[in-house]
């Protein structure tokens, strides 16, 4: 069973622990795993009110989370806790969230779309 690994020697911050829990649940679904199976890159996810961030590294089916934002990710997204939660629960469509400014994003939108599929619990 595939699950998100944690960078060696690190204990994930709260944001990372929540995201890992959600992503591990989703990765058990072969359809959702397929969406990130061939993807390579890195995505920074940041909670805006606290400034807490994590980086998700994707390397053809292997996923790893680390604390903090790396300097040059392939893509990034930033939102408040409630909007991140609403995306994860499927109450807020990630594309709509970006278009309405509830989520700030940059970098490769294709990668963000792929990653969003394993961030949504439904």
């Amino acid at each position: 069973m595939t699950e998100v690994k944690v960078k060696t020697g690190e204990e994930l911050n709260g944001l990372g622990a929540m995201l890992k829990d959600i992503m591990d649940t989703n990765l058990r679904d072969p359809e959702k795993y397929k969406s990130v199976e061939r993807v390579k890159g890195s995505v920074v996810i940041k909670e805006s009110s606290s400034g807490v961030a994590v980086t998700l590294h994707l390397d053809q089916g292997k996923l790893e989370l680390q604390n903090d934002a790396i300097a040059k990710p392939t893509a990034y997204m930033e939102a408040g806790f409630e909007n991140l939660a609403h995306i994860s629960s499927g109450q807020l469509n990630p594309i709509v969230a970006i278009l309405t400014g509830k989520v700030k994003s940059g970098g490769n939108p294709f990668l963000l779309l792929k990653v969003s599929k394993i961030m949504v619990l439904k």
């Binding site: 204990e11 709260g14 944001l15 622990a17 009110s49 606290s50 806790f81 939660a85």
Partner: protein, 136 residues
């Protein structure tokens, strides 16, 4: 009057705070699940406290001090060290920041928390609705 943390009086005050909090009632109107609030010992404080709240659709049906952790099997556990919990109760740090940094950890059905993030925040806010004094 300040209430001593970890006592039945404290959990009763917490129950009352949730029952009278309109923001909590609104945010948690679909919330289903009981919870342990666990305070872990650290360098500043050597005792462990386990408090139980049965939360259901914006109401708090039961509030207890737990002596045997196996007494209940709650759906959720919020836990943190004494120092980190004290900072929240003293309103020195923001609950969301504490959750995001991992100073306060939440375990349980993440899907429900993600559906009602405000409920988790208002639950923590409920702990700060009255003055708490800590044991020596």
């Amino acid at each position: 009057m300040a209430i001593l943390f970890g006592t039945q009086e404290w959990v009763d005050a917490m129950k009352k705070a949730l029952e009278t909090s309109q923001p909590y009632k609104e945010a948690a109107k679909k919330w289903e699940g009981d919870i342990y609030i666990i305070v872990e010992p650290d360098a500043a404080y050597k005792h462990r406290h386990v408090l139980y709240l049965d939360l259901w659709h914006g109401a708090c049906r039961e509030a207890l001090v737990i002596t045997d952790e196996n007494e209940k099997s709650p759906k959720y556990r919020i836990f943190g060290t004494f120092t980190n919990m004290k900072q929240i109760l003293d309103k020195k740090v923001d609950p969301v920041q504490s959750m995001m940094t991992g100073k306060i950890k939440v375990k349980g059905d993440m899907a429900q928390i993600m559906k009602m993030p405000r409920a988790a925040v208002e639950l923590v806010n409920g702990m700060t609705a009255f003055e708490t004094v800590f044991p020596d």
